[in-house]
Point group: C2
Chain length 343, copies 2
């Protein structure tokens, strides 16, 4: 069994399996070369040979324990018929979802057809890993969690405080509940199709989970995660699921009860202290600060050593606590991997 899968199936693999969030991305010159040849980011996500190519690039360079499908969490609402554009340097722009009409306009019926390029990418990456001799690299499929996807849909993009989506959750609870329900069902369909196309592990990114009050977190983060994991386990009992409720803090303990096999820990959390709160049956993944990888040198070494020392003997997957940033020197990543692989 591949190292990542062994870790997610109960074994304290050491040195830990390692991959990096956003490992396929702008810090790599080979990525920038591909990106320069397409008109926009959505085209890159929905052109299988290009998306498969950039997914494989960091594996060729670094031989990581996982490849993660190159895509975006907003491909799901896009496939439900919600508008989406990416403005250079500004991030995603969507029409802000409002009222019953906004939810009613979402069309789950077109999801499977519109995400065919994503499924084709999954098939090509899986075949590419085998063909290129990366027999130990597991393929991770993913989706944004319903709350985080709803954040972008209601705000119309990123936000400093997510006041619109939090306001809707408090002020229009029935409407917001329906939006979360539609996204939950669509996420199950979408992730299940990724498994059928060849994904060996699934990850659920809830990047903005931490902006919710604990009551809302239970309703809109934990509830949907539990439903998604249960539905996926019913269909694909052997495919592990990693949840990443970013900025959950102590609520990660409640999140661990959703049935996930692994849990992502963000940069701000003391991963050793979190290990004392979380049940042993959940593997932990994280949590090096991407800014430490930009700095490199002694700062990166000290942060990395602290994480490795805290996690030794536990089921652990080394990763960043947030996506790698574009200004990261690729040679710092190589030095990081040397240190992690030395345990």
């Amino acid at each position: 069994m591949k190292r990542l899968l062994r870790s997610l199936n109960g074994e304290a693999v050491w040195p830990p399996p390692v991959w990096l969030m956003r490992q396929a991305g702008r810090y790599l010159p080979e990525y920038r070369a591909v990106r320069a040849g397409v008109p926009d980011f959505i085209a890159l996500c929905t052109t299988p040979d290009l998306a498969a190519e950039v997914t494989l690039q960091p594996i060729r360079r670094y031989g990581l324990d996982a490849a993660i499908l190159f895509s975006d969490i907003l491909i799901l609402p896009w496939a439900l018929g919600h508008g989406l554009a990416f403005k250079e340097g500004e991030g995603p722009v969507l029409p802000p979802l409002r009222g019953e009409a906004g939810v009613a306009a979402l069309d789950p019926g077109r999801l499977i057809q519109k995400t065919q390029p994503v499924m084709e990418t999954v098939r090509r990456v899986r075949a590419g890993l085998a063909a290129e001799g990366f027999g130990e690299t597991a393929l991770i499929g993913f989706a944004g969690a319903p709350f985080t996807v709803a954040c972008y849909m209601v705000e119309g993009g990123g936000s400093k405080d997510f006041a619109a989506v939090r306001g809707m959750a408090y002020g229009q609870p029935a409407l917001f509940g329906r939006l979360i329900d539609v996204l939950t069902e669509a996420t199950i369909t979408y992730l299940s199709a990724q498994v059928e196309a060849g994904a060996e592990v699934l990850m659920l990114f809830d990047s903005w989970a931490g902006v919710l009050s604990p009551r809302q977190f239970r309703a809109h983060v934990i509830g949907p995660a539990r439903r998604i994991v249960a539905a996926l386990k019913a269909r694909h009992p052997d495919v592990p699921v990693i949840g990443f409720p970013r900025l959950a803090g102590i609520l990660a303990r409640d999140y661990a009860e959703t049935g996930v096999d692994g849990i992502g820990i963000d940069t701000g959390s003391d991963i050793g202290a979190m290990a004392g709160l979380l049940p042993d049956r959940v593997a932990m993944q994280g949590n090096l600060d991407p800014l430490a990888v930009v700095a490199g040198g002694e700062a990166m070494r000290a942060e990395t050593a602290g994480i490795l020392a805290a996690m030794k003997g536990r089921r652990f997957i080394f990763n960043l606590g947030h996506g790698i940033v574009p200004q990261t020197p690729p040679e710092h990543v190589a030095a990081l991997l040397d240190q992690v692989r030395a345990g």
Copy 2:
């Protein structure tokens, strides 16, 4: 002894003392009337009769257990000679601090003189509370914590990810350490002067503490807080200090060891679960979501009831978990206070 001071001195006062972060602010028509008559926000902060007036406004309207000095955390770097402007709707704008010259330009020698208007405001508020019959309302002075103040100085304002300041902490640790040191010493001087002018409680706002890795959190949040609290206790042993390391998560447990008498809990934290982690000798303050107060009605009632139920019997100060927002209907605040005062 005033209810807030009793709570901070060891008594589980019930119903809990209550005040609200940013209780003097744009959601109040009487505040907007004063604000309309001054050219800019800094002028409001540095004109004692106006700053004292807006500090007292929410006390007259709601009779809260604390008045908090009307000022801004960036008045401290401004008083050290660092530039500062507030752009309407955009927040603060500062010259981004870079390199040795940026730190060397800070002039602690002018701090006392430049903050005289703040001290005069404190004196007027204290006198005003007594003169207007608010004998139970304690006066809170405050400062931004060194790390959060450094965030704005290095970024040149707010930021989505605080990459510049985090990058400086990793990449130029000696320089960043000197900046934190200068701010730590200045904060001690500034808060001590507020006590001498009449502040009965001090609060240290570390709004961006949560963006740091645990190692950096210990160096730049916990270390300075410990020094500040120790120095203040040496000079003013009877003045309680409340720390607010926002988004600290489980690291709040480490922060509680700094010597603070109270700790602020942000909206995303499960305050009942946090109570299980924090020592009883630290009072807890928080943590209603300001968006719940915008919504009002059942959403606000349910969130508030959950917090009160979790905190009953513990040393607790009811507050929001973040500042009140401008679109809050003042009558929702009145309804909230009725509920809190019924226990």
